[in-house]
């Protein structure tokens, strides 16, 4: 059964760029079914003899979809270990000890933090829990050890009002005093 699903190919179509061009990627159903969106789109009564279905992924850019496809394909070969909570490690590589996945979300592979956020958005949109966990974990360790202002800059967040900030600091005075 697993081999049959690998023989069924799908075509994923990304969001059009500023020129109106979309990118398309072929992927086996066995790999793609990790995505709830794709699994629901294809349905249960699809057979191998049917024409290759084309699935629009309108909220995911081409570059990002390429990486999503790469993730799905690799996951088919080497499933990612479930991320435990509590994490059990003080660094990303300690928690995620699978080298390919470490490299997948590394800055050198993604290029920028924007791509990481795009991946996170795509994982959420496409319903890929494993990719969502992986990207959330990466974001988590980017926030760990940072102060509020740095977190705000990393995630591009608006500020608390001074009253809200003062109240929040008063509520959590114990942790700041200890530091």
């Amino acid at each position: 059964m697993a081999d049959e699903m690998d023989n069924i190919m799908l075509r994923l179509k990304s969001m059009p760029d500023e020129n109106g061009n979309s990118r398309e990627f072929e992927i086996s159903y066995g790999a793609a079914k990790l995505s709830e969106l794709i699994k629901d789109s294809v349905g249960d009564d699809f057979e191998e003899d049917d024409t290759m279905p084309e699935i629009d992924v309108p909220r995911v850019k081409g570059d990002c979809l390429e990486k999503v496809v790469s993730f799905l394909q690799h996951y088919r070969k080497e499933p990612m270990k479930e991320i435990p909570t509590p994490l059990g490690g003080s660094s990303f590589n300690e928690v995620m000890d699978q080298e390919w996945y470490q490299q997948f979300v590394d800055d050198s592979n993604l290029g920028s933090r924007d791509m990481l956020f795009d991946l996170l958005t795509a994982a959420n949109f496409m319903g890929i829990k494993e990719l969502l966990d992986l990207t959330c974990l990466k974001v988590t360790f980017q926030l760990t050890g940072k102060n509020a202002e740095e977190i705000r800059q990393i995630l591009r967040l608006p500020e608390l009002t001074p009253e809200e900030e003062a109240q929040a600091r008063e509520d959590h005075k114990w942790i700041f005093e200890e530091n």
């Binding site: 909220r59 991320i83 435990p84 909570t85 994490l87 059990g88 490690g89 003080s90 933090r113 924007d114 956020f117 795009d118 996170l120 958005t121 959420n124 969502l132 966990d133 959330c136 974990l137 974001v139 988590t140 926030l143 760990t144 050890g145 940072k146 102060n147 509020a148 977190i151 705000r152 995630l155 591009r156 967040l157 608006p158 500020e159 608390l160 009002t161 001074p162 009253e163 809200e164 900030e165 929040a168 600091r169 959590h172 942790i175």
Partner: protein, 599 residues
């Protein structure tokens, strides 16, 4: 601040007080909240009339050196001064009842609204409509003629601030601009104008968190749903989570929600979420006889606060014992202090670790050496651990292949039942061994007939012959070694369900040894399944259980040597050492630890 004189500044309905120093520079301006005074004749308004309400309280920048266009008469100023002096300052209660105080609060609140409005409008402007400038905002009021400061550099700069770059500007620069803009108010007839601006801004509804269409933002994290953000927060430890909660109001809410979800179990079992149960507990504790005895209301568990101070263990020969312990539980013997063991010890890959467990070679060698003696006891090591030789190394004891084999045999003969381990004197071994068969039926030494007993000859354990009480590993005689496998989690954590992969613990608790209460230090050890290397079946860790292995003991501290409060805690090395005692090791290979209170 010496030789300050009250100078006249401006006439009008508002009372302005300026203080002039020796250099004839006005160094501060206080715009008094002049309102309708009460019937108290001691309060005089300006010009003898009831002053109009302006409700503004603004303290200008200390850099302000001149005041323009304010020049009330001296008489008016004196009246203002007397009026200000008449406001009670020492009597807080009376002060709170004055209308001036209420007006001051209202003015302060309106200033706060205006401030928030500025921030919200700025964010709204940049997030929703980057190209347009906000309307009806305080900032626009200040910049567009509310002050009449056309020549002000700040005013010109406000008109040229690129809203698209606002988000990227230094926040401190923005605040400084706002402050300096406010500080320039004194150049014109500011108070009424500022009041108008503030009032108009305050009348605008406070901007809610704007709905940001994803296409309009540049990867702002707030575009994600709550579930995604909560997933990130699920991974964050408390300190980082708190800092994340300080970033924006939405993160503040979600961070608290995430923390609530993660602590639900512990709060539920300790009745922290159910105030009605707490109220019932309160009645049980304090109301007592006043409760109607005919009530059918049941009783609840009384939540208990455990000991507050921490324990730090150091210099233990076994490094897993070193660290900070917290009081996490209590049992029939007293308080229990625990700490999780090293994160690497977590049960994440149980099969591999179980298969790698081997008896300690050094302990095996010592065991062989003891067996080769002529039945005499082993000598204590240099740190006075007579007891270690007497009762054997409990930690190493359970690792002995012979012991494990014995236990395994009992378990195979009596599956699903606990195995008790008895230490017997040499002369009793023969009797016990003879009685072992009937033990399964009739019991030995008072054991229930259905409970299997593993009898170990003393020649294996080198039990001491002396009459003085010696600590005996309570885990051996004081209770079952193996926890109840059916309710494993609840037994370990006293009703709180242990999550999968819960780290093992190191434990300091009081226990009985014969009839003596002592402090014991132990740690949880995963049992190695016998024959696992030959078996292809998966062995769940729950089937093999987790053993509590005792390694150290100490006497209780006595009153006089320590205060009653300190005596509740595990015995401290610094106190025991004055009496020539200290923590003792149950193993010859382990140094006794140093135990002290923190906080």
């Amino acid at each position: 601040m010496s030789d300050l004189n009250v100078v006249s500044v401006e006439d009008g309905n508002e009372g302005i007080v300026g203080l002039e120093n020796e250099n004839e520079n006005v160094i501060s301006v206080a715009v008094a909240a002049v309102t309708h005074p009460n019937s108290d004749n001691n309060r005089a308004g300006v010009n003898g009339q009831k002053p109009m309400a302006s409700s503004i309280a603004v303290t200008a920048s200390p850099t302000l050196t001149t005041i323009q266009a304010f020049s009330p008469t001296t008489d008016q100023l004196e009246r203002c001064g007397r009026w200000l002096s008449s406001i009670p300052r020492d009597d807080v209660t009376a002060l709170r009842d004055t209308p001036e105080y209420h007006d001051f609060l209202q003015a302060f609140e309106r200033l706060g609204y205006a401030h928030r409005r500025v921030i919200s409008c700025n964010n709204n402007r940049n997030e929703i409509s980057p190209g347009s400038s906000p309307t009806n905002s305080l900032w626009s009021s200040l910049a567009n003629g509310g002050l009449g400061m056309g020549t002000s550099s700040n005013a010109s700069s406000t008109g040229t601030i690129n809203s698209g770059t606002w988000m990227n500007d230094n926040i401190q620069t923005q605040r400084a601009q706002l402050r300096s803009a406010i500080s320039d108010f004194a150049g014109t007839n500011v108070p009424s104008t500022l009041a108008t601006a503030i009032s108009s801004a305050a009348k605008q509804p406070l901007a809610q968190q704007p709905h940001i269409h994803p296409s309009l933002t540049i990867n702002a994290f707030l575009q994600h749903t709550d579930d995604v953000i909560l997933r990130v927060f699920e991974f964050l430890e408390s300190q980082s989570l708190i800092r994340a909660s300080l970033t924006c109001s939405r993160f503040h809410q979600l961070a608290h929600r995430g923390a609530t979800q993660r602590t639900y179990q512990i709060a539920r079992t300790r009745q922290l979420y159910n105030v009605m149960q707490l109220l019932r507990a309160h009645e049980q504790i304090f109301d007592g006889d006043q409760i109607n005895h005919n009530t059918t209301l049941g009783h609840v568990r009384v939540p208990m606060l455990l000991l507050r101070r921490r324990i730090v263990v150091s210099d233990a020969g076994d490094p897993e014992y070193n660290g900070v312990y917290y009081c996490t539980n209590s049992n029939g013997n007293g308080f229990v202090f625990t700490k999780p063991r090293h994160p690497i010890q977590r049960v994440s890959d149980r099969r591999q670790r179980l298969q790698s467990l081997q008896p300690d070679p050094s302990q095996q060698q010592q065991f062989n050496q003891r067996n080769n003696t002529n039945g005499t006891q082993g000598q204590a090591n240099n740190n006075n651990n007579n007891n270690a030789a007497n009762v054997g190394n409990i930690h190493g004891l359970l690792q002995r292949p012979q012991i494990q084999q014995l236990i395994l045999q009992q378990r195979q003969q009596h599956p699903g039942q606990r195995v008790r381990l008895l230490l017997m004197q040499n002369q009793n071994v023969h009797q016990a061994q003879q009685a072992q068969q009937p033990a399964a039926v009739g019991g030995v030494n008072g054991n229930p007939p259905h409970q299997p007993v593993a009898v170990l000859p003393a020649v294996v354990l080198q039990q001491q012959q002396q009459q003085q009480q010696q600590p005996i590993a309570a885990g051996v005689l004081g209770g079952p070694i193996m926890p109840d496998n059916d309710n494993f989690s609840s037994t370990r954590y006293d009703g709180e369900i242990a999550q999968p992969g819960q780290p093992l613990r190191c434990i300091i608790s009081k226990r009985f040894s014969n009839e003596t209460i002592l402090w014991y230090m132990s740690k949880e050890v995963e049992a190695a399944p016998m024959g696992s290397e030959d078996s292809e079946e998966d062995h769940e860790i729950e089937q093999d259980g987790i053993r509590e292995v005792f390694s150290y003991w100490s006497k209780l501290m006595v009153l006089g040597a320590a205060s009653p409060d300190v005596c509740r805690y595990p015995s401290q090395t610094s106190i025991l050492s004055r009496q020539g005692d200290g923590w003792q090791s149950l193993a010859v290979t382990q140094r006794p630890p140093t135990v002290e209170l923190l906080d």
